[in-house]
Amino acid sequence: MGLDIKYPIGLMFTLMGIVLTIYGLATLSDPTMYQKSFQININLWSGIGMLIFGVVMLALVKKKKTE
């Protein structure tokens, strides 16, 4: 098939990563929000993780195209 699956995967996780990172930053000073997660800002960390994963996937697509 003519579609490289890494492209939609990369795009989706980059987008979700940005959304969760922003949400994590916006809720940074909300003390009740992260009671469940032992005051760990799990949205921020997950968001950053997903952003990195998404960007790596996109970079792999780009690398393949230039080869």
Binding site: M1, I40, I42
Partner: protein, 576 residues
């Protein structure tokens, strides 16, 4: 514990992003769907890593995720047997010894392999049973999904059912098997990433692995086991009563490790279809091996949180409990949902819920995409409208039939889902019955691949005999404390097994042995119909060995297989 979640806008936003991509992939693939081959076989063009991730993703449906987390909360570390003994060896065997014949024979489905190797009636029997079973499974998971959305998200049952059916229909109708496979890969990543926050937070809560071992030690002694009974795999399997699973080591090895898992992984077309869609023989062989690597780490994602739940349930200060059924027993299937509720704030909560919804839908899409292939090639093309001289027109015609089968499959699934909501027990029973075809099927395919003397008449009779013995065994035995006939004993009870698992193992062992014996004996008594020339590419001894010399050593199946087996051995020793 109240199970309804209050989702915030951010949770819905995450969910919407995911489903936009799911539908987008289907849409993007639409233009490549020019014939039946592209639609039903993904044009045999998938790279090994894509096929490999789809291969395990199909199996990582929501019923598996929820069920295995629940088993983790019931049996502890012993649940990993389903992975390290139950799945990995069978996947390695499928890759090395069976894929060359499935792929090399140019069969487009497992039933078609049976036709090429044996005869038409063996194929017909398998195709029809498989088609019914797949649609039934699809309907049951659709029902389970709608119930979940009703209970957990507070959505209307009928709307949830229709919504999930429409989404699955849309992307399988547009992009066929390729769309199902691509979405399975996407789903694999969303499940892993969506569950990681729960794994991390739950382990953090109990003080890591050491803390978990300590808490579960108290639970084990309270239940009359050795302190590390919940955190060991093999140590206490010398006796059935010494471990929470209630099965001895040889029962685990023979029942789970051999018959059940080989029957499931090596003959289930739903799974094998992913490897058949690979781009080359080497890629097809590597597909199950590449899938095996993430597969062996899935227990840390699913069973581990389940074990934390077990510790929390026994710790009054944790304020954690599972919902109870009418009899006051905890409903273990809700383990993962209870954990999501316990630990996740809005945001990652949406991600976790999305992961669950995703796994439900990909399970259904997998069933539908396997169903439409078997329907089109093994039923419609062989009995209703055979191929004609005009290949091009045929391809277009069967593409249309495949698409119609997709719509038909989804409609029947919806009907099955409603039947399940009315007669849940009967549907469970039917599913148990149909799962009995796996073990005899494995015996027949195994003999077919490795013994050129096996004949069609013998295989057909072997399949039926194995199936009836399984049925008989199920009718004559029951697990301890069974209160419905669905669990067995519907003829009369001759033997009672300590746990349901043991009954399942023995059903499969009896079915496999009967089928194998009948096939061998009858093959010797019936004339050999197919000549050696006809069996080239279908039987091991008559097929030239696959040369892998032009492939770099790290891409060879043998190297990958060794890597997989070494890794799984290390894991087994670590958690002995």
């Amino acid at each position: 514990m109240e199970m309804t979640f209050q989702l915030a806008w951010i949770d819905y936003l995450v969910m919407i992003i995911y489903f936009a991509f799911v539908l987008g992939i289907g849409w993007a693939l639409k233009k490549f769907m020019k014939g039946a081959n592209a639609f039903l076989e993904a044009g045999r063009s998938m790279p090994a890593w894509v096929a490999g991730l789809a291969f395990i993703s199909t199996n990582l449906g929501a019923l598996e995720v929820m069920g295995m987390a629940g088993s983790g909360a019931k049996y502890g570390m012993l649940t990993t047997h389903f992975y390290w003994v139950g799945a990995i060896p069978a996947m390695v065997f499928l890759a090395l010894f069976m894929m060359p014949f499935y792929y090399g024979s140019k069969a487009r489905s497992v039933p078609e392999y049976l036709k090429l190797r044996y005869d038409e009636k063996t194929r017909g029997l398998n195709a029809i049973l498989f088609a019914v079973m797949t649609i039934l499974s699809s309907g049951i998971s659709m029902y389970a999904l709608a119930i979940l959305m009703e209970k957990v998200l507070g959505w209307n049952f009928h709307i949830s059912l229709m919504l999930s059916a429409v989404i699955v229909l849309a992307y399988t109708y547009l992009g066929g098997l390729s769309s199902a496979i691509y979405n399975e890969v996407l789903q694999f990543f969303i499940i892993v990433i969506g569950l990681l926050p729960v794994v991390f937070l739950s382990l953090h809560h109990v003080g890591g692995w050491a803390g978990l071992k300590e808490s579960l030690g108290n639970v084990a002694t309270a239940n009359g086991f050795a302190p590390d009974a919940y955190t060991s795999m093999w140590k206490y399997t010398g006796t059935a009563t010494g471990n929470p699973l209630g099965v001895e080591w040889y029962g685990i090895l023979a029942g789970l490790g051999f018959v059940l898992s080989f029957g499931y992984w090596c003959t289930n077309f739903l799974i094998v279809q992913r490897a058949m869609a690979a781009e080359s023989t080497v890629a097809a062989r590597n597909t199950p091996l590449i899938g095996a690597i993430p597969k062996m780490f899935v227990p840390f994602l699913i069973i581990l949180p389940g074990m934390v739940a077990l510790a929390l349930m026994n710790d009054p200060s944790a304020n954690f409990s599972l919902p109870k059924n009418e009899a006051g027993q905890p409903i273990y299937d809700y383990t993962i949902i209870a954990l999501l509720k316990q630990y996740l704030p809005s945001g990652v909560l949406g991600l976790g819920i999305t992961a669950l919804l995703a796994s439900f839908m990909s399970g259904m899409a997998g069933n539908i995409s396997a169903f439409n292939t078997v329907w089109t090639y093994d039923i419609y093309q062989s009995y209703i409208r055979p191929t004609t001289e005009d290949k091009e027109a045929d391809e277009k015609h069967y593409l249309k039939v495949g698409r119609m089968a997709t719509i038909f499959g989804v409609l029947v699934s919806i009907a099955a889902a409603y039947l399940a909501s009315l007669f849940g027990n009967i549907m469970d029973f039917l599913q148990t019955i149909f799962s009995m075809i796996n073990a005899p099927l494995f015996a027949v395919i195994f003999l077919g691949m490795f013994w050129k003397r096996a004949t069609g008449h013998a295989a057909f009779t072997g399949l039926l005999a194995g199936f009836f013995i399984a049925l008989l065994h199920h009718g004559l035995t029951a697990p301890e404390g069974a209160n419905t006939l669905v669990k067995g004993g519907w003829i009369t009870i001759l033997h009672v097994y300590p746990v349901e698992m043991a009954q399942n193992f023995w059903t499969a062992i009896f079915a496999f042995s009967t089928s194998a014996i009948v096939t061998v004996v009858l093959s010797l008594l019936t004339p050999k119909v197919k000549s050696d020339e006809e069996l080239v590419g279908l039987v091991y001894s008559l097929t030239p060995k696959l040369k892998e010399m032009d492939v770099p050593w790290y891409k060879r199946s043998s190297s990958l297989a060794i890597l997989v087996l070494v890794l799984v051995t290390i894991l087994t020793i670590m958690f002995w």
